[in-house]
Symmetry: C2
Subunit: 189 residues, 2 copies
DNA sequence: CAAAAAACTTAATCTATTCCAAGAAATGGT
DNA sequence: ACCATTTCTTGGAATAGATTAAGTTTTTTG
């Protein structure tokens, strides 16, 4: 929970009383590796702040193939936004890649909290702005680079992260098959 | 400009004095078809609200090929977010697809305006939230559907829009070549 | 209204990546 | 330590879509 406060204080000032309010309204949840926080078909009234560990958001297409759409490591928010905003059943799975902890931000208490701590409007605006900017850049890589280029680029940018996550998840995040990733690595060595 | 006020009032309340403030701080710019609002290498201290017409954000890769990353029709915000947030030179072009008008939101007066009209924090938060949700969905289509499926799906969802924009732009938005789009259409007929 | 420019089509060849299948290596639970 | 499960590798056949190049149609402009 402290991790979230620190993250918020990068963008806004929090008074002690704000922290008390937040501590009361939010809940911390510990997750074991591979545990699901959200499954397809379920409602998703939460936005998840990854306070420790690593989660991934993925969907399963009609051929049964998993596609990882986002990794969330500590300090990132992650959720199925359509289901969060619209209140419909989700089409995604949210899974802990590593044992860790997340803070649950509940849509149903959101309005009350935002009224009590108006600075949070600004916090979430800035968080969303930065994540939208990052997404725009990721999309550029996805559309402009070949699969192999994407892998090398990602591997150079986040070498430690590549070690942390199974290859098949990485492959599905980078937009190709695990077999192909295997071949890329073989080529290099 | 009125279009922007209406859009804001979908999410927040604006007092008359707020509108006066906004009218003074923002500028309206008319754009001719094909005119550029932003070119690669330039700074981009603006966020653009499309009040009438249609714009597109695209980049040109090192092979000289254009990739359309976003269309903005009336009622949407559009800009190179990295350049807007970070202040570095842009890697994108923003071009009017049709003659129309945009409202310029200037990053350099943003803080002052947000302080004078705090409700705008909420407005932009909600706009960003919805556009991030839409982006998440678009990414799913891009990664899960074949080019041909993407075309049919888009064509069914936005038949009027498909008529409004040149095919090569649509192809580059859907992630394939104009030649391939031509083939898809030939197959159907 | 003609000429130039822009947009679209068609066809042949080429290539990055998928798909399938089977085996090898690593990891995890008891 | 051992067995089951999960993850990774390898190779060959198949394919969606790119590339190239030339020709046709449509739109824009003087």
């Amino acid at each position: 929970m402290e991790a979230l406060f620190q993250h918020m204080e990068r963008y806004i000032k929090l008074r002690e009383e704000d922290k008390v309010l937040l501590s009361g309204a939010l809940s911390l949840r510990e997750v074991k590796k591979k545990e699901h926080l959200l499954e397809e078909g379920r409602l998703c009234p939460y936005n998840y702040f990854v306070s420790k560990g690593c989660c991934r958001l993925y969907y399963v297409n009609d051929k049964g193939i998993e596609h990882t759409v986002q990794f969330g490591i500590d300090g990132w928010w992650i959720t199925d936004l359509m289901a969060y905003v619209g209140g419909q059943p989700s089409g995604y799975y949210l899974q802990a890649v590593e044992t860790g902890a997340v803070v649950l931000w509940d849509r149903r208490t959101e309005d009350a909290l935002l009224q009590q701590i108006p600075a949070l409007e600004r916090y979430f605006r800035l968080v969303l702005l930065r994540s939208a900017a990052a997404e725009q850049q990721r999309n550029r890589y996805l559309s402009d680079f070949s699969g192999e280029e994407r892998y090398h680029h990602f591997n150079n940018s986040f070498p430690e992260f590549v070690q942390r996550v199974p290859q098949y998840m990485l492959a599905s995040y980078l937009g190709f098959t695990p077999e192909f990733l295997s071949k890329i690595r073989a080529r290099k060595a």
